[in-house]
Symmetry: C2
Subunit: 339 residues, 2 copies
DNA sequence: ATGAAAGCGCTAACAG
DNA sequence: CTGTTAGCGCTTTCAT
């Protein structure tokens, strides 16, 4: 059945059946509270007989504790953000904190709406992806009165705590790698830069690094709306091979688009890495197993989540002096697609 | 700042500043309620000045409405389940229903814990993945008094509504395809069958279909703990090529393991599909873009979500006579890896 | 170890 | 269109 005829039982009902006061029932449902073993047993038995389910909406209101942490990510369909959520979740669970997850679709206006909705539910802390937000979203976070963690970025003016890395710096490392191989005609494949701020930072990092090396930084292919897919990466590669056939290396905004680019080369009989080198970003599983495997950057997504959780727990325990910024060092992984 | 010095303002504070009663403030925050334009404006202005944020913990308790739907999936890091969640989310949002998402790690005991936690928060409805649960989880769902939807499966004894497909039947279609090509030495690569019940159903469907065709159904490779990865698919394929080198075709429990198997063939110089044919499950993006592309089955994951949302909305509106079962017809996609 | 009273912040129900 | 009263189901606080 999917509908109950009668009203759900409350603690008062359980108390009546067990012959105790509602307060004792309340205590019996917490761990480490002073209730005698026999009484607790009788209460839990009574609760089970009645089909009682604890009502946390009432508990939340009275105790002013909701025991959840709000988390916003750009996309739920992304292995790296999923790893960050897993890292968070695993360290928050032992503290009895659940995660309320929402996705913004890489849209700051949607992020603002989501943050407002989430704050209404009174989370104990909030984790957001990125360091750029609408002015109103920023204000909401500043005034929320709870720990705030910005991740996957190193914002210039953080709202609260930060656990992230330099997207531009990571791509600079990649450019340096290619230049060290003696290459100069290097292209960048990414999505439209208005939506995905981390993608935009990577593109900006590419341009800055190329210019620092005195190389032409105009081989920029926009491949569609972020997050760009394998297919869009493939299409961008096709376009690149046709319009700028002397390109020696390609840096893609993510491993997924890089893999798409690789397959397009395979379909066209363009040898990788002999004729063109390819690199991605994110160290997704595909990057380590494709033939050839893809050169990429590991941003340690689950570490971002775990360290964010540590900050939250410390902040809730009052152990933090002020806002903390934890800088993650990304790792350049040179694989078969670039050597 | 991450901590507020003073207490957060309530509706009473807003009411005082705006010179109205708390009830009018409450009305001003709902749409389509009878509040004069000028009054509403003054109230929202006062709320903004105070930095007031609506407290839904109180609203939830008093109105006995939480405006969210609980959803459990085996893994958050899975493009197909993500599509189901997206399908749900997009159709529930216009109704003002948010999603509370949790993952079970393919573990029924963890699912039970999660369901209990979720029901304490009093969701309007609950969506679970699969049709097998612990006895206690089943009882909790039966007594929850809210619409329940089981997905991604066709349970024999549904708890409430169902939106799913036959995992065994889908694999039967795949076996039929290979047998029609004149092949008989067909293997199945999957994970341990104790955890992933959908994977177990696919394996059982493989065995049944092979036996129905009078073929040997013993080429079964267990590749690790579900969900099995690309790497585990590759390792299983290596094992298969060494122990049963006369195998003509391989059906994998998912596209990810199928892709791993494909790469292993490429590393070993085993031509696909000339020497061995490969098929997966799920129609992930990798399946359509790999070289060669992978034969697979599309279970229409976002449709599962959308139809589940429709059932929930109809049930909440009291438009459903009784439990509904919606059967999704999967689609066999024959691609380069098997022809 | 257990109980009684009060109230968390909002809104259902009723009145005007 | 707006206000008053009461109470959702717990837990804080203070007793015993």
């Amino acid at each position: 059945m999917t509908t109950a005829p009668r009203k759900a039982p409350t603690m008062a009902d359980v108390a009546r059946l067990a012959g105790v006061s509602p307060m004792t029932v309340s205590r019996a449902f917490k761990v480490e509270t002073s209730v005698s073993g026999a009484t607790r047993e009788a209460i839990l038995k009574a609760a089970d007989d009645l089909g009682y389910v604890f009502d946390s909406t009432a508990s939340n209101l009275r105790s002013q504790k909701t025991n959840f942490v709000a988390v916003t990510v750009p996309s739920i369909n992304n292995a790296n953000f999923a790893e960050t959520v897993r890292g968070l979740s695993e360290r928050l669970k032992p503290r009895g904190l659940q995660i309320l997850l929402g996705y913004t679709d890489y849209d700051m206006a949607e992020e603002e709406r989501l943050i407002e909705q989430f704050l209404r539910r009174r989370p104990e802390a909030i984790v957001v992806t990125g360091g750029r937000h609408t002015p109103r979203a920023r204000r909401l976070l500043e005034n929320a009165g709870i720990p705030v963690v910005e991740t996957w970025d190193l914002p210039e003016a953080p709202i609260g705590h930060v656990v992230g890395f330099s997207n531009a710096g990571a791509v600079r490392d990649m450019v340096d790698h290619f230049v060290a191989l003696g290459l100069t005609r290097i292209a960048f494949i990414g999505g439209d830069t208005t939506r995905d701020t981390r993608g935009a930072d990577r593109r900006a990092g590419f341009i800055a690094a190329m210019q620092a090396h005195g190389c032409d930084a105009t081989r920029l292919i926009a491949a569609g709306t972020p997050p760009i897919s394998m297919r869009e990466g493939a299409e961008a590669m096709g376009h690149l091979l046709e319009t700028l056939p002397d390109t020696q290396a390609v840096i893609c905004v993510s491993d997924l688009s890089a893999y798409g680019a690789l397959t397009e080369c395979q379909r066209r009989g363009v040898d990788v890495p002999e004729r063109v080198l390819i690199a991605g970003f994110g160290d997704y599983e595909i990057a380590s197993i494709s033939v050839p495997p893809l050169t990429t950057i590991n941003p340690f997504p689950s570490k971002i989540g775990a360290l964010s959780a540590d900050l939250i727990v410390a902040a809730l325990d009052g152990l933090l002096e002020g806002p903390q910024t934890i800088r993650i060092e990304t790792e350049l992984l040179i694989r078969g697609s670039s050597r």
